[in-house]
């Protein structure tokens, strides 16, 4: 009888070891999901994110037979006393053409502060085809109290943009930089 029990005890220990292994694997899987999600979104452009650093001008010829409407939208996240305005609300471009749009940043607050504009393209299947040669969104900006600054966005719509997409909206959300988000309630 006691041999049976010893055997049973060993089996229990083995089951527990296996389950713990499964548990560790799932923890690893969860951690891996974060970079996997980013890679997935980068490849598919699914969450509307565009490249985070300057891209080179694509060499494909300009497709003059097609025109795409590009809209600019700006908004402010709470916590940053700045204004961001698109100086052109809409531009029409041919796919392949290099175009320029200007944006005005104003610090309406009382002190030097920093912020960053985070871009997002919709519809999201257009995000991958929105190429940016120059953008203020690649770095954070610093503005003195009352300072105004105009900054350019140089971009190109890839001619491979899917047929059905004729209008792209680029939304910039302005976020404060260098603040732990836990501080929200103290403001």
């Amino acid at each position: 009888m006691s041999r049976d029990q010893q055997l049973q005890q060993q089996n229990v220990a083995r089951t527990v070891r296996r389950v713990l292994l499964g548990l560790v694997l799932m923890v690893g899987f969860t951690i891996a999901l974060v970079p996997l999600y980013d890679v997935f979104c980068e490849v598919t452009g699914l969450n509307g994110k565009t490249a985070s650093s300057a891209q080179v001008v694509g060499g494909a010829p300009v497709d003059t037979g097609r025109r795409v409407e590009v809209q600019f939208v700006t908004r402010n996240a709470p916590g940053l006393p700045w204004r961001l305005d698109a100086m052109e609300q809409t531009v029409w471009v041919h796919p392949g053409e290099v175009a320029l749009a200007r944006f005005a940043f104003v610090n309406v607050g009382q002190e030097l502060s920093s912020g960053r504009a985070v871009p997002s393209v919709s519809p999201s299947q257009g995000a991958r085809y929105f190429r940016k040669m120059e953008c203020f969104c690649f770095q954070e900006q610093w503005l003195e109290a009352g300072e105004r600054s105009e900054m350019p966005l140089v971009f190109q719509i890839d001619p491979d943009l899917p047929e059905g997409v004729n209008k792209l909206t680029l939304a910039y959300t302005l976020y404060p930089q260098g603040q732990a988000i836990g501080g929200y309630h103290e403001q």
Partner: protein, 552 residues
């Protein structure tokens, strides 16, 4: 943890000990008494009782919060409580019911019944079992204490979407995270224990396909817990880092993505809803054959259906996120995979009905609750299929229609199954039958109350009433009035259940024999009622051809 530090299975000691607290007693010169005996117990029956009583307490605390919500929604334009407090009540109600009432109740039932149903003397890891239970009171004390902290308790909904639960969360959120971690660890340890018990401690000759379905469904549930609890732990850890350490997993300002939160949460969350229903399937599969006096129809298909539901539950999570802007192909995939789940679910309902077909049915209390479960759970399943239709869900999402759906599967579903289980096994636990008059009143008031509460929510939802709001437009007034009346009726009638339980604990009622129900099968009915503290110290005889629920 290494294998060396594992608590030894109690089988070795229990044979020589006739009193409570098996392993713990072995380390103390004298037997702990009174309160300490319950604190230190490693006996699966006593721990099961602790879990069940804890779940009952949480059911009433969470229920009181629901009644505060229903009081506020009684009429439009009232301010019985402030909107800020209203949000805390809806959030805490959901968290407490899910993690404090339903899950611990099922774990309690598993503790009590799994060892006796498989002929084991105790759980495989009795001391770990004690620890998993006592994590829960700690966890929920912390969670409840957040209500008294500056800025109040969690107010972001039980799904705690970022950035509501990070950027805009009250300062108490770190305590909420700690509480969830403790509850999660408790569930994981409980699941390890249940798996180790079922896989290793079955009486000789009992193959997996000879196990009662309650054991089967719990085995599968335990694997689900092992798979998704780490994901929950990961999500709340990322929240903690975002809030306190300046990372931005879910914060768009720093390059994170709030939608990632929803993906991670629902990757945990959808299997979690099945964690709250699979053991209920097992309970109903035990009770229906007993009172139809027939063998369960399609034992093997029940097992396979449960397993396929569990596997499918990993690939449907985004049906909670149709409106976040998924690409068309993803919407189609999640729509069809979700509908696919309705197939094995339908198999189960079919098998229960086929078991009833031409049975000699009698309507004892557990049977009444089980039959009500089948009907009402099916209503919830049907509204689930409606919600699975992606284009339709754009209208239903975040309305009371969703609230109606998941309350139908959880209250007249899971909660009714737990009540059915209590009425079914109370004679075994306490030695006396539950009081029939009180039980019948409890049953009928519950059925009326629950349907009066949740059925009108389908209509207010379809008419466009959003969920999680403290006030609403005039046209929703009648539906909400009904829901509030039903809610109070249901809530108050649960006190009758407490009365039934107290009577049983005090031994007042008709004495139950070992075979408490005429048609019941299974090893638990070979034990005297009430079941002695230590049972099956020597493994019981089990002849598959005679005793297996899958025999031909």
């Amino acid at each position: 943890m290494t294998s060396r530090s594992l608590p030894r299975p109690v089988v070795q000691q229990s044979a020589s000990e006739a009193t409570a607290g098996g392993a713990a007693a072995g380390h103390h010169a004298h037997q702990p008494r009174g309160l300490l005996r319950w604190v230190l117990t490693t006996n699966h029956k006593e721990i099961g009782t602790l879990y069940l009583l804890f779940a009952l307490l949480m059911f009433f605390i969470g229920g009181t919060m629901a009644l505060v919500v229903r009081a506020e929604l009684f009429q439009p334009g009232m301010t019985f409580i402030l909107p800020e407090f209203f949000n805390q009540m809806t959030t805490m109600h959901g968290l407490i019911m899910v993690f404090g009432a339903i899950m611990p109740a099922f774990v309690g039932l598993a503790n009590w019944m799994v060892p006796v149903q498989i002929g084991a003397p105790d759980m495989a890891l009795p001391r770990l079992n004690n620890f998993s239970f006592w994590l829960l009171p700690v966890s929920f004390t912390i969670l409840l204490s957040t209500l008294f902290m500056e800025g109040g308790g969690p107010n972001f909904g039980w799904t705690f979407y970022a950035p509501l639960s990070t950027t805009y969360a009250p300062p108490s959120t770190s305590f909420f995270i700690l509480a969830m971690h403790l509850a999660g660890i408790s569930s994981i340890l409980g699941a390890i224990n249940i798996i180790a018990t079922i896989l290793n401690l079955r009486t000789p000759n009992m193959r997996l396909m000879d196990m009662p379905l309650f054991v089967w469904t719990w085995l599968i549930t335990a694997f689900l817990l092992i798979a998704v609890m780490p994901v929950l732990a990961g999500v709340i850890t990322m929240m903690l880092l975002d809030i306190n350490f300046g990372t931005s997993f879910f914060d768009a300002a720093g390059g994170g993505d709030p939608v990632l939160f929803q993906h991670l949460f629902w990757f945990f969350g959808h299997p979690e809803v099945y964690i709250m229903i699979l053991p209920a399937f097992g309970i109903v599969s035990a009770i229906v054959p007993t009172f139809a006096r027939k063998r369960l129809f399609g034992y093997a298909s029940m097992v396979y259906a449960t397993a396929s539901i569990a596997i499918l539950s990993f690939v449907v999570w985004a049906h909670h996120m149709f409106t976040v802007g998924l690409p068309l192909t993803a919407q189609l995939f999640f729509m069809y995979s979700t509908m696919l789940i309705a197939v094995p679910t339908g198999v189960k309902v079919f098998n229960w009905i086929a078991t009833l077909f031409r049975g000699s049915i009698s309507f004892e209390l557990p049977m009444l609750f089980s039959l009500a479960f089948i009907v009402q759970f099916t209503i919830g399943g049907l509204s689930g299929v409606m919600l699975a239709i992606a284009p339709a869900d754009f209208q239903y999402h975040d309305t009371y229609f969703v609230v109606a759906h998941f309350h139908y599967v959880l209250v007249p579903g899971a909660v009714f199954a737990i009540l059915a289980a209590a009425y079914y096994w109370l004679p075994k636990w306490s030695g006396v039958y539950p009081n029939v008059k009180l039980g019948l009143t409890h049953f009928w008031l519950s059925v009326i109350g629950v349907n009066l509460t949740f059925f009108p929510m389908h209509f207010s939802g379809l008419a466009g009433m959003p969920r999680r709001i403290p006030d609403y437009a005039l046209q929703f007034a009648d539906f909400n009035l009904l829901s509030s009346i039903g809610g109070f009726l249901f809530g108050i009638s649960q006190l009758l259940f407490v009365a039934v339980v107290i009577l049983c604990i005090r031994g007042k009622g008709e004495k139950a024999p070992a075979q408490a129900w005429e048609g019941a099968e299974g090893l638990e009915w070979t034990l005297p009622s009430p079941a002695p503290l230590h049972t099956f110290d020597t493994p019981p005889e089990f002849v598959p051809e005679r005793d297996s629920p899958s025999r031909h």
